[in-house]
């Protein structure tokens, strides 16, 4: 069913390419069927056609564009120069400006300030300085694993044979010495006691002892 109003509303969309492909072909089919819509479509499209021709006629010639480009170049250049002027001359750094700054101060005030500064400096120099303990160097502990051969301990027992006669003699001598030592001890503990003669270790000689040599040490494997 053809709807003139709806089709005419879509004419500009059709002319300006705003319709989808299927909608576009549908609209064109509607226009073909309706002379009124077709006339409206042609009228609008022709208006734009005439406009385009007029716009084309109004185009300036090449020299206008060239002159425009030259002016544009000059404007850009001038803009850069203006921008650099606007930034102004390069200012000296802050430290330089501080040192070169001039300040007008009355002479008495300046003298008083100088004296005060001198006194303060002297006092600061006279105050004992706190001794700062030197910072001990931090010891660096380095842990290193080293393989060391462990000495193996070995106990050697030497069997010594002694003659029975000598052994008995030495045993009785040891007993005799032991008895003497006990007697001496008792005598020293009870000096007033009577009866027992005073025993001393005078003439004591150690019995023949057997020197057992115990050898300790490492042995090569």
């Amino acid at each position: 069913m053809h709807d003139c109003q709806k089709t005419k509303e879509q004419l500009l969309d059709l002319i300006f390419g705003e319709l989808e492909a299927d909608e576009n072909s549908r609209s064109l089919a509607q226009i073909e069927r309706c002379p009124s819509c077709d006339a409206e479509y042609r009228s609008l499209a022709s208006t734009l056609f005439i406009y385009d021709r007029a716009a084309l006629e109004a185009q300036p010639d090449e020299s206008f564009f060239l002159a425009h480009h030259e002016r544009l170049r000059e404007s850009v250049e001038a803009s850069c120069i203006n921008a650099s002027h606007a930034r102004g001359p390069q200012r000296a750094p802050v430290w330089k400006r501080i040192f070169s700054a001039q300040l007008r101060v009355p002479a008495p005030l300046a003298v008083a300030a100088a004296i005060l500064l001198a006194i303060t400096t002297l006092l600061a120099l006279r105050t004992p300085r706190t001794i700062i303990a030197p910072v001990q160097a931090q010891t660096i502990v380095e842990t290193r694993t080293v393989e060391v051969p462990v000495p193996q301990e070995r106990v050697v027992v030497k069997t010594v044979y002694v003659e029975r006669s000598r052994r008995d003699a030495s045993a009785s001598a040891r007993r005799h010495i032991g008895q003497s030592m006990v007697d001496n001890q008792m005598a020293s503990m009870h000096p007033n006691s009577t009866g027992n003669p005073r025993a001393v270790l005078q003439g004591f000689k150690p019995a023949d002892t057997v020197n057992l040599q115990i050898i300790k040490g490492s042995f090569p494997r």
Binding site: F16, G17, R42, L48, I50, Q59, A67, H69, L72, S75
Partner: protein
């Protein structure tokens, strides 16, 4: 659309303040911008001033160009803002491009067309520009963006901060006004004197 093979490089240099690179970029698009300005202002001197102003704005704003859109899209948005903000004393002077140029023609060596050769063409141009003069700046801009730039309703609406419906209505009014001024009638159209053309298809 114009495309420079070394455009990214030129953009990079222009962003760093290179005047030559910027001028090379401008050279690719200045003709198009100038023509839009001319159709918008309908006066060469105004168009020239407007285009220069636009390029200077673009040069100053180059460091802000992030490459999120194409260079021309970015430039076109500057152009739209410049066009809308364009105010000039006496801008409502005669709409005719030719009459506005009288007296300056020889100085600039610029010639729109030879009036003696074809008076009919002059009348047609005056009619078209007269019709454009009757439109509001926004209507004129919408028409230019649609017909010359081939932007969609949505894109125009986004650029101007209005609805797509407003754009469509404005466009319809503009075309109807142009038709009235040009005196396009059904008989002439049906006789096949005019050939319909598509949007953005400038002759």
């Amino acid at each position: 659309m114009t495309y420079l093979s070394d455009e990214p490089e030129l953009i990079g240099r222009a962003r760093a303040g290179d005047q030559e690179a910027f001028c090379a970029l401008a050279e690719a698009y200045e003709r198009r911008i100038l023509m839009l300005a001319l159709y918008y202002t309908r006066n060469r001197a105004d168009a020239e001033d407007l285009a220069q102003e636009l390029w200077l704005k673009a040069f100053r704003a180059m460091k802000d160009f992030r490459g999120e859109s194409s260079f021309y899209t970015w430039l076109r948005q500057i152009m739209i803002n410049s066009f809308l903000n364009h105010r000039r004393a006496g801008s409502n002077r005669a709409a005719s491009i030719e009459s506005a140029e009288d007296g300056r023609e020889s100085a600039r060596s610029v010639r729109v067309f030879d009036v003696e050769e074809n008076a009919h063409r002059k009348i047609m141009v005056e009619k078209v520009f007269g019709a454009l003069a009757e439109l509001t700046p926004q209507q004129r801009l919408i028409f230019l963006l649609k017909h010359h730039e081939g932007m969609t309703y949505e894109e125009i609406a986004r650029s101007l901060g209005c609805s797509a419906g407003t754009v469509k209505k404005s466009l319809f009014r503009t075309v109807v006004k142009l038709r009235e001024h040009l005196g396009v009638d059904g008989e002439r159209v049906e006789s096949g004197e005019f050939v319909p053309c598509a949007a953005g298809e400038n002759l």
